[in-house]
Symmetry: none
């Protein structure tokens, strides 16, 4: 996951976000969970800056799309309380997607700013550019 990869992924995300009119924050992290690049699109809300970074971070740490962690972390779920861990950096709502090459997680992209469907669509479009 080098900077050129990250920027290509981010630009693909920006393209989709523009298309569906959902101004987003988009972040890419490497296999260790460390930030490689981030953008806040014009008009994207401030609260989504950290969310985009933390969704990418969560995706790498648990090798999952963040939305897939929701049910298990609800009351009654097998990982109930997980959404409160990591000093608040573990996010379990949609928008974080792992980047996988040959079965290996090489990083993740995190998107925040729209609805569950919008963030998910932008993240998928971004990840497809890897």
């Amino acid at each position: 996951m080098d900077l050129a990869d990250a920027r290509r992924i981010i630009d693909a995300g920006i393209g989709e976000a523009d298309r569906i009119q959902s101004p987003s924050n988009i972040a890419v992290v490497d296999a260790g969970g460390s930030l490689v690049a981030h953008v806040r699109m014009d008009g994207a809300q401030l609260g989504s800056i950290e969310h985009s970074i933390d969704k990418a971070h969560t995706s790498v740490l648990f090798r999952s799309a963040t939305g897939d962690l929701a049910q298990d972390s609800e009351p009654g779920g097998q990982f109930w309380g997980m959404a409160l861990s990591g000093l608040g950096r573990v996010l379990v709502f949609a928008g974080g997607v792992p980047l996988v090459v040959d079965g290996e997680v090489v990083g993740a992209v995190g998107v925040s700013g729209g609805s569950r469907e919008q963030d998910g669509a932008v993240a998928e479009a971004a990840a497809a550019a890897l």
Copy 2:
């Protein structure tokens, strides 16, 4: 959002809080989420100091009344777990209201100290003074 604006907003909030006998903390932040002014009314509880500031902060960051964020952040909601993000500074219960001019969020007011209905009423009265 200058200090004169913030003080006028706060004074309107104090007026309503006195009327409904709900001693409150009232905070105003600017469009970037930074504090402009805060008051703790006589008799208001200490735990509400940070709550008033964080509600205003949350309102600007997500361009929403804080109470409107509650349902989406509950288990099963599209942003489940959001109430646990932001190092605990994201509050999703009533009392934070964005201040909007010509469709732009120029700041927010946050009120804490009473019930959901009381905090909401004081915040609405405060915001109306912009």
Copy 3:
């Protein structure tokens, strides 16, 4: 230390800050170190918001003007390292002044935004209004 006291103290600080042209953040805390009121004057820098609150907090906690704590907390001083304590909320540079009535610390005022001399002058003018 009620809100009327805090506002009178803050207004005296604003008057002096205007006079010496040093746009300031001014905070008043009670005897327990809890915030009673805060203002950010127009043009005051954002970094001074927390500093004003933390200076007032420090002044009450150690019953000292913050500037008087500097030397002791330097390398070689009897409280070396103190400036690193309190999760960063202990500030040892000028601008925090305890408010004393009949020998009892009843609160403190914290001022931040200018030079050592400016913050000190505004804090002294504010405290004199108690």
Copy 4:
């Protein structure tokens, strides 16, 4: 400070960092201190991710190049201990530079990864592209 501005500033920084062979993290924040964009160049150290963001943040909050804050925050300086405030986000070593238009701070760039001279040179080159 929109995303196009931030990317132009970052690309200018990357150009200089390549020229002097100092792989860097480069971050741009807006006038409120909120992140607009960040990149970690290939080969840049992980510890500099947060440093680049926090240097930009510090520059906006105190309207200063970060390196200019060093002397005042040393033992004996008028702001001794300032480097320990802000939950560790106040950085007083070189690499953060405010972005100024018509005398107004509109944002800042933060660079981290090299020596004081290298970070300063990359930050200056980046800021010149505003």
